[in-house]
Amino acid sequence: MIAVLALLAGVVLGVWLDPTVPAALQPYLPIAVVAALDAVFGGVRAKLDRIFDDKQFVVSFISNVLVAALIVYLGDQLGVGGQLSTGVVVVLGVRIFGNVAAIRRHLFRA
């Protein structure tokens, strides 16, 4: 419950502050969001599995975002930025899908 409130507070903060993203960071933003979503769904699933751990969540969130951004950056430098970000999105998408499937099994027993 508190977690959802915190999430909403973040959304409100983002809308209210309306920061401008530096042009250099713009390509990494979508990938960072997908990576963050992966960490969140992992956390939700762990919560339902009753093995949620705050430290693990924080570390996985930050490392996911950073690693995803780093991969895209590396890809940009190597000239395969588009393909690498596709790869990152595919991998993260598969993970999200798997986690959501586990969550679904928890919630609906199906």
């Binding site: 977690a3 309306d18 933003l29 960072a32 949620f52 751990d53 598969v94 798997g98 586990a102 928890h106």
Partner: protein, 310 residues
């Protein structure tokens, strides 16, 4: 997966040969399991749990922030893109308008020059010049002649397939053929959609558009020609006319030839000067009756013969 874990033990490790299967099978961070194990063995102090909890709340706030920012960013980029596009369209329109204005002004000035020249020249020379201008397309002409009308077939497939095959269309080669046939049928002046053709005119295609002298023309195309009365008969006998009739029958293009009285064909745009020689000496020419234009016949070296008053 939860069933595997339910009996307390770690899920049986499967050495899957391929990475993707593994990815699908085990999307959970193994770290959670390890952390739970650790916690069960020796529970951490309360302050540590609390601080970790607050940190994860901060991370959640951060995540919400990230989501909102990313959403706004994506939304903002979209109008930017379409704005840039409409800005470009605007610019193109503006430039086209300027071009039209300038060419209208050029026409006006050219007429003015023609009038002044007629006033300065003697009658017969002026008449000769006007004849030459009419023949080369540099001057406006009026007379009776033919209008050949070509139009694309009415489009019905276009709406379904978008830019697919589309209805049969008039090709630039059709216009070329018609123009050439008209010339060979004795036309003295030809214009396509009001664009006068000269000896150096081009009819070509660029993508889907047809360009006459680098200006786009759109269907229906009207090729107007001024010429003798026998022109219609001779044009109808030409190969391109027969070909176009057949094409029209088969594909639904429209192709029509009609005689028209009192056509007015505009002058072609001023040709770019391609070749000129400076006059031999800058000494003043004897009188004002010499036109100053160094024509291709070359009034450069010899002082008077071709251009001089006769």
């Amino acid at each position: 997966m939860s069933a595997e874990r339910g009996d307390g033990g770690r899920p049986a490790r499967v050495y899957a040969p391929d990475f993707l299967t593994e990815l699908f099978r085990n999307p959970l961070e193994p770290g959670y399991v390890a952390a739970a194990e650790r916690k069960r063995r020796n529970p951490p102090p309360a302050w540590r749990t609390r601080s970790a909890r607050s940190v994860s709340l901060v991370v959640l706030v951060l995540l919400g922030f990230l989501l909102a920012v990313a959403y706004r960013q994506t939304m903002e980029e979209e109008p930017g893109r379409s704005q840039a596009r409409s800005g470009l369209v605007e610019q193109i329109k503006e430039r086209e308008r300027q071009t039209d204005e300038l060419s209208a002004r050029a026409d006006q000035l050219r007429e003015e020059v023609g009038r002044q020249r007629d006033a300065a020249l003697s009658g017969s020379t002026a008449a000769r010049l006007r004849d030459l201008e009419a023949g080369t397309g540099m001057g406006r002409v009026r007379g009776d002649g033919l209008v050949v009308r070509l139009a694309d077939a009415p489009g019905d497939a276009d709406a379904v397939t978008g830019t697919g095959a589309g209805p049969p269309q008039v090709l630039y080669t059709d216009l070329q053929g018609v123009a050439n046939a008209l010339w060979s049928a004795g036309a003295e002046a030809v214009a396509i959609n009001g664009q006068r053709l000269t000896a150096t005119s081009t009819i070509r295609s660029a993508g889907k558009a047809i360009l006459v002298d680098f200006r786009p023309v759109t269907g229906p195309y009207e090729v107007a020609a001024i010429g003798p009365g026998s022109m219609k008969r001779r044009f109808e006998q030409s190969r391109i006319a027969a070909l176009m009739r057949e094409v029209a029958d088969k594909t639904g293009l429209s192709f029509g030839v009609r005689e028209a009285d009192d056509l007015t064909l505009p002058a072609a745009p001023e040709p770019r000067l391609r070749y000129a020689e400076p006059p031999g000496s800058p000494s003043p020419s004897p009188s004002g009756d010499r036109s100053a234009s160094p024509g291709p016949s070359g009034s450069g070296t010899s002082p008077s013969p071709s251009g001089g008053g006769r």
